[in-house]
Symmetry: C2
Subunit: 363 residues, 2 copies
Amino acid sequence: MAHQHPEPSAAQTGPEPAAPTPPRRRSRPTIGDVAALARVSKATVSFVVNGRAGVSSRARQRVLEAAAELGWQPSAGARALSTRRAQALGLVIRRPPELLSTDPFFPQFLAGVESGLSPLDYALVLQVVETEEAERNAYERLSHDGRADGVFLTDLQLDDRRPVLTDRLGLAALIIGPERPDSPVPALGVDDAEGVRRAVEHLHALGHRRIGHVSGAEGYVHAEARRRAWTAALDDAGLPEGPVEAADFTGAGGARATHGLLDLPEPPTAILYANDLMAIAGIAAATGRGLRVPEDLSVVGFDDIPLSEYIAPPLTTIRQDVIAWGRAAAQQLVSLAQGHPFQATALPPVEFVARASTAPPAR
Amino acid sequence: MAHQHPEPSAAQTGPEPAAPTPPRRRSRPTIGDVAALARVSKATVSFVVNGRAGVSSRARQRVLEAAAELGWQPSAGARALSTRRAQALGLVIRRPPELLSTDPFFPQFLAGVESGLSPLDYALVLQVVETEEAERNAYERLSHDGRADGVFLTDLQLDDRRPVLTDRLGLAALIIGPERPDSPVPALGVDDAEGVRRAVEHLHALGHRRIGHVSGAEGYVHAEARRRAWTAALDDAGLPEGPVEAADFTGAGGARATHGLLDLPEPPTAILYANDLMAIAGIAAATGRGLRVPEDLSVVGFDDIPLSEYIAPPLTTIRQDVIAWGRAAAQQLVSLAQGHPFQATALPPVEFVARASTAPPAR
DNA sequence: TTGTAAGCGTTATCAG
DNA sequence: CTGATAACGCTTACAA
């Protein structure tokens, strides 16, 4: 009935009586207001907005008109409390600030997630945390507070405990990245290996035989996947094992690792980086040592960030459609959160983009 | 009483009797369970967790023990329904995908916002939209669904209608950027002008007299602010008006604008870009024309993205502490959402960072 | 087809 | 100081 007003239920049979000295700051209309105006019960209104059968078209009509007149829309919070669903998904990001601000993954992923979520009328609750403890905490609260019906698990580590955690919480979850063996949580990821293989083949065809790798932060599943793909690709190409330097996905790390590789007695003539950011920093590092790219050193990145096309030389790299990935992930997770079983989705494959940072080796 | 279980209130005098064939999927404990276990009323439990006076220490003790034993934490959703506050802030982002994925602003800002929000126990609801209509819609729903108590207004346009919208919705809002005249919504932003002035002074001191500017997307308040600051700084330095080329904050736009300036009959010897991304693309564009940076062209960026230090040459730029900005904004907006009046906060000033992309002009 | 009433898990009011 | 009891806005049996 008349919400937040002291009148007794008599109001139910007619429009709201003019309250004497109505307290200003009229709050939003409620389902009760709509029901009263449409002269039906709250249940009927609920049925109408939820598109359920069992409502006469006349009643439906009146409800819709009343809702429109009052500008009423159901309250997500109240609905969540009732249905025990938040109509929202959670994303907890744990990354060092520097990485967060430069890596193009998250913004794109977020854009994709949103594009998948908004047609379904789901919201996204975001948390950025620093420690692992805060991270666990965030998932627990998200679940507990009923703020999210499902969560994305990104930047998975090799020994990540989050799948077990979400499983225990009974919280729907989806790993963003390569599949994990024995994981209680399904995963959705593109196959990096294909792009890496194409890159190695490209370098091999150019005549490179010593191809180094600057890997991402150790312990991360995707860093590890790219590294293994590189090893496998070298092997497939019949090339000897190449030198690898572990880095951390940052510009500083990429520069340092590049120097490490170039300081070797037999430096590589080409380097494959685990992301574009490190590759760009690597180009600068090599340039700083008097090397020319690509004449003296070929460089391949990973991600194809928008900037990669606009540096000198334009970066040869491996492109993933992160937006499409995010969209697919969102749809999948909503489906999981609604209790449907996981069903594998096809993601656009990674793409090898040849630009000017690769060329035949000088020697 | 015992929540969601069929037992009669007899359960109140002892531990919960073992239900025969208990339905799986035991849901979380509620305040009622805690109250029952502690042998107090729900209200008392509520008072305890909200740290309000009027509870005997014995009762408080029992409540805390019961809560700990049950692992109970209050449900944010239920609380929100009761208090009519979502304990969450909203951020609606409308940007073209490319810009979103490369501009370091949002990730940093988000990190800052979160660092301000999490101690206050507020969540962040994020939306990424494409059209202006979707944007308006997003704000309306956020407000209306009760999903957010306040919203950030970013990327403000000169004729932006969002301040009026949020005002009409009665939704707390905070503009992220320079203050607007006559705005019903307060603003929190760093003063770009100081950094721009320092940059121009730096270039002037190096001997430059023709300093061009590549501006950000037209219509944006912050792009306009930087452009005006540049004009004013030239004026202050007693330099003639310089050529300006309008761009859009993207790498492609930066490259195009750079060519535009360099094609002039009297090309500038130094260019100030409205962001680092365009500056980096500008360096590549200039290099592609056979110019050397900084010998033939000095370049100054804006933002100091992490990559700027690791390109060749390292970029001279203007740094803003976006994380601190985000944190301050979060605190401010929470305060506004709680009904407190706006009170100006000091933000760390922008900082001029001289690196190697600037040098005395050749001619 | 429609209405009633009982939740959902809190907070708030107001007697004891 | 404590405890019923009524909101809060919605969904959903269950009746009518």
